[in-house]
């Protein structure tokens, strides 16, 4: 029993890592209707930039953080302006494939720039070793992950609901032509969306550096987060908060209890099996928007 509880806490903690990355997906989708397939790459790029500035260039973690923030904002806006805006008016698939291409490009650049070795960034909060929840040790960085995700979701949810800019974003994602006809500056809105989403993803990457070593193959985390997003529903921030930890817990339990029976690697398969199951019954995800169709 004790062991099970321990596993639950561990699972939840890792799950919030997915959750935080998944917020990047949801944010872009909710505001522009695009599935950003380069989310994982952006996250790991954030980690590398942090590591590069803090350790390789030796500027320390504060400058590194500032640098990541600025880079993220610029990169997000740049992606929208240079890569996606020329595709406006084309089928949405073209845009999504463009993000896929961007992801591949970023992966290549990271492999070139930082090589194949796993790297370890300095701790963001040195000294804080671990906290205890209900008698179970949980590393402080996981705790930060949890808190950061919760705060971020609360901020975003209120932003979407109560601000004019949030309303503009929702309008743009639902029907960009109508949004234009209402006089909404859709280009600016989209640039801002990508800027903010870039920041969310890349800062998530910085937190990630304190959980595990950095290696460009970690972009697979983004892929896994996509399972979380799709199960939770592409438009749903709460869905991410629930499904992230849930997926983490399922993974941990699978590793512990099913792996010995089948010989391993169950945790790799499980999210996708669950995704398939959910897609059958709720194609828009557990908490996503049901397509409203009237004729």
């Amino acid at each position: 029993m004790e062991q099970l509880l321990g596993l639950l806490v561990l699972g939840m903690a890792t799950g919030f890592v997915y959750g935080l990355i998944a917020i990047g997906f949801v944010m872009i989708y909710k505001s522009s209707g695009i599935l950003n397939l380069a989310t994982g790459e952006l996250t790991i790029l954030g980690a590398y930039v942090f590591y590069g500035v803090a350790s390789q260039l030796g500027f320390g973690i504060y400058w590194a953080l500032v640098c990541v923030l600025v880079c993220a904002l610029l990169l997000g806006v740049l992606i929208e302006r240079v890569l996606l805006r020329p595709l406006a008016g084309q089928p949405i698939l073209a845009t999504i494939i463009m993000t896929l291409a961007l992801g591949g490009l970023l992966r290549g650049i990271m492999a070139l720039a930082w090589g194949n070795q796993t790297m370890y960034a300095p701790e963001i909060l040195p000294g804080l070793r671990s906290a205890t929840i209900a008698g179970f040790g949980i590393s402080s960085i996981h705790l930060i992950f949890i808190i950061a995700s919760l705060i971020l979701v609360a901020l975003l949810a209120n932003f979407y609901r109560y601000t004019t800019l949030g309303l503009s974003m929702r309008a743009v994602s639902e029907d960009i032509i109508v949004a234009r006809s209402l006089g909404i500056k859709t280009n600016n809105v989209l640039a801002l969306v990508w800027g903010i989403a870039g920041v969310v993803s890349m800062v998530g990457g910085v937190l990630l550096t304190n959980v595990m070593g950095i290696h460009y193959t970690l972009v697979d985390l983004g892929f896994k987060s996509m399972a979380v997003v799709l199960v939770g529903g592409l438009e749903s921030l709460p869905g991410v908060l629930i499904m992230g930890p849930a997926m983490g817990i399922i993974e941990v339990l699978g590793t512990r209890y099913i792996n010995p029976l089948v010989g391993g690697e169950v945790e790799v398969v499980l999210p996708w099996v669950i995704l398939m199951g959910v897609l059958f019954f709720r194609p828009y995800g557990l908490f996503g928007w049901e397509r409203i169709e009237r004729v």
């Binding site: 008016g89 309303l167 503009s168 929702r170 309008a171 006809s181 209402l182 006089g183 859709t186």
Partner: protein, 262 residues
């Protein structure tokens, strides 16, 4: 106030959809443009509102003026901010947003007091929407959605409203109501209206002047009363002919009865 002079619209630099249309919406008037499917009505509205640019279309000849300023090279955002508001065809509401958010979205680009406008829409024009304010707009009925798009346009407090087939897909009673509302908006809010319609009967009831469009050309224009009594309009747009009288087969065969303006 709004003036189109010899406007030609091209798509993809090849296809000519509107061929030399001139029309005018003077202050204080409702003007209607009649025409069948594919006559170029919607394209004209898009040319005015600037939405054309997003469909690889452009005004290739002639120009469009609003309050003495040339607008056919401006973007939709700029044009909307000048006070021209297009109500797009087909009741395109934001289905997943609440009724109130849909209304608020209309006022994003204009400097109006949102609360006041919202009050105006709820209490003066569409009391029915007030009860539905928290409902997702996608679940409203067709008539309610029609109210919602007009309400959304009202929120922006424009000077000129471009309405694209407000009667489309509505029951006759709702069509009547919709046009009453349009008239009320025009009279009480002092908003000029350019109305594009296939329902010539309803449109000519509220408009003071009309243009008939065919194949991208204005083939006939005149005061609403004179259009209502025009034989060709009656026959081809109002579906009326000498009712009750004996008809010879020659008259029924449509191709025999040539439109006189051709």
């Amino acid at each position: 106030m709004l003036k189109l002079v010899n406007v030609e619209v091209q798509f993809h630099s090849i296809v000519l959809v509107v061929r030399g249309v001139s029309l005018e919406v003077p202050s204080g008037k409702i003007i209607c443009v009649l025409g069948a499917n594919g006559a170029g009505k919607t394209t004209i509205l898009k040319a005015i509102s600037g939405l054309l640019h997003y469909e690889d279309g452009n005004v290739s000849e002639g120009f469009i003026e609003f309050e003495g300023k040339r607008i056919d090279r401006l973007s939709t955002e700029e044009i909307t901010r000048m006070g021209i508001f297009q109500v797009i065809e087909g009741r395109r509401i934001f289905g997943h947003l609440t009724v109130e958010d849909n209304l608020k979205s209309g006022a994003i680009a204009s400097k109006v007091n949102k609360k006041e406008r919202l009050d105006l829409v709820y209490s003066h024009y569409f009391p029915g929407l007030k009860e539905l304010r928290g409902r997702k707009a996608g679940y409203l009925s067709g008539g309610e959605q029609q109210q919602l798009v007009i309400g959304r346009a009202l929120m922006a407090s424009p000077k000129l409203m471009l309405m694209d087939e407000p009667s489309i897909g509505l029951a006759p009673l709702l069509v009547k109501k919709t046009f009453e509302i349009i008239k009320k908006i025009h009279e009480e809010e002092k908003i000029d209206i350019l109305l594009v319609e296939q329902n010539a009967y309803a449109a000519l009831q509220v408009a003071s002047y009309g243009y008939v469009l065919e194949n991208g050309r204005v083939v006939l224009d005149g005061l609403a009363e004179s259009l209502r009594t025009n034989d060709d309009i009656k026959e081809f747009y109002l579906g009326l002919s000498a009712l009750g009288l004996r008809k010879s087969y020659r008259d029924v065969k449509h191709y025999k009865r040539r439109k006189r303006w051709l």
